[in-house]
Amino acid sequence: MNARTRIMFGAIIPRTRRTPKGADESLGARGARISGALGGFLRRTSRTGFVLYALALGAALGLASADFATSGGYPVGGTTIGAWTAWAKTGSVDADPYSRAVNARRGEIPLAIGEGLLLTAATDDDGRRLDASCTYAVGGAVPPARAWTLTIGGRGAVDPAARPVREAFTSTEILREADDRFVITIAKEVQSGNWLPMPRPSGPVRLALRLYDTPVAASVGSLDRNTVPAITRLGCK
């Protein structure tokens, strides 16, 4: 490639040396001449130039897209059940490369299949994004598990000074009705029963349901909308 560029430069130099001859030329003509020379240069170097262009663009796009795909949550590998997404395989050795990269970048230790199952929700049952300015009721059934926890959080770091009084409910703590069902109310203001305060004044929030020691981790496909908690929006301000 070096030898080739040198030859090309060699071809250009005599041409540019010729330019001072037309010293009385107008500025526009000179500009046209220079651009013509540049065009010729580009035409001559087109192969090298295009190879460099392809390499640079390919590397930039590839790296940027890889960074984008692995910087947030898991991009693929979830199973959607109503408003919830179950992440069964993110912790196993046959996890997809994206989940593995996300785990590595975040320092996450995901739940193994024999250990438990993580379900996340970012929308309510009607598909609207969970928002901190609204009030929600989460309740109904939970897939069979020895223990479960329901956690609420938002994106970004939590302000330690404004840490909410409660960020999660466990299956032991929950107050149940006579038929063993339960309702968790997520709201800013204090509620009776199982009150989970909104973790932040505004913005999107996410729910995480972790099932521990559950048989469904190995058969996520068997879950349907009726076996996961319903997320109902009660109202917004």
């Binding site: 035409r43 190879v51 590839g62 320092g107 020895r146 926890t149």
Partner: protein
């Protein structure tokens, strides 16, 4: 001779194909070059004989330990890690069953290859021995037929990895107990020339 425009289009197409290759290679390479991943961070626990607690539950009056790197930990679960290197011998993870739910998962760089909960415990204790295929064969060959072995033997695909201990505190009053339950698990190296615990004594 191709025109400049078709060359440009060809170069762009090549760039897209290259971008795809770079994307795939980068995503697959991230776990091997990451420095903040669980596998690298768990190495710190290799010299300990108990799990390094990486997520402690809040107990009034005790400051949170500095070793916390889980991005979104479950606030009701205490987590500890034990790194192993099977070069030194099989790794034994022993836990006593308490009233709290406990689970142990064994990870290598790629992910978890084994997990067990305290429901698998025999007579109140859970004994996991993580070993290589060669160490497993050796253990089988030298096993005493008269002796009952209650160890759960796991063949690790790789020499290095880590075990994760999780203890669930169902109520906030159990937080201190959950933290202690993580610390009470023992992670030791089974020296090949020593009897493996009291159960392995001849005639025992």
């Amino acid at each position: 001779m191709m025109s400049t425009r078709s060359r440009f289009i060809l170069a762009t197409l090549c760039a897209l194909v290259l971008a795809g290759i770079v994307h795939i290679v980068t995503v697959r390479a991230i776990p091997y070059f990451a420095e903040g991943d669980a596998f690298s961070q768990a190495r710190k626990s290799e010299s300990l004989d108990h799990p390094l607690r990486i997520h402690s539950l809040a107990v009034a009056g005790t400051p949170a330990p500095p070793e916390e790197w889980l991005p979104v930990p479950d606030p009701a679960v205490a987590v500890g890690v034990c790194a192993y290197d099977l070069e030194d011998g099989p790794m034994r993870v022993s836990a006593r069953v308490s009233s709290l739910n406990l689970s142990i998962a064994v990870h290598n760089r790629k992910g978890a290859f084994y997990a067990v909960t305290d429901q698998a415990a025999v007579r109140g204790s859970l004994d996991l021995v993580i070993m290589t295929r060669a160490q497993f064969d050796e253990a089988l060959a030298s096993a005493d037929e008269n002796q009952v072995n209650r160890d759960v033997r796991i063949i690790a695909p790789d020499r290095e990895g880590f075990a994760v201990v999780r203890v669930i505190a169902g109520l906030p009053s159990q937080n201190a107990m959950a933290n202690e339950a993580v610390d009470a698990v023992s992670c030791s190296i089974d020296a090949p020339d020593e009897p493996t615990g009291p159960d392995a004594k001849p005639g025992g």
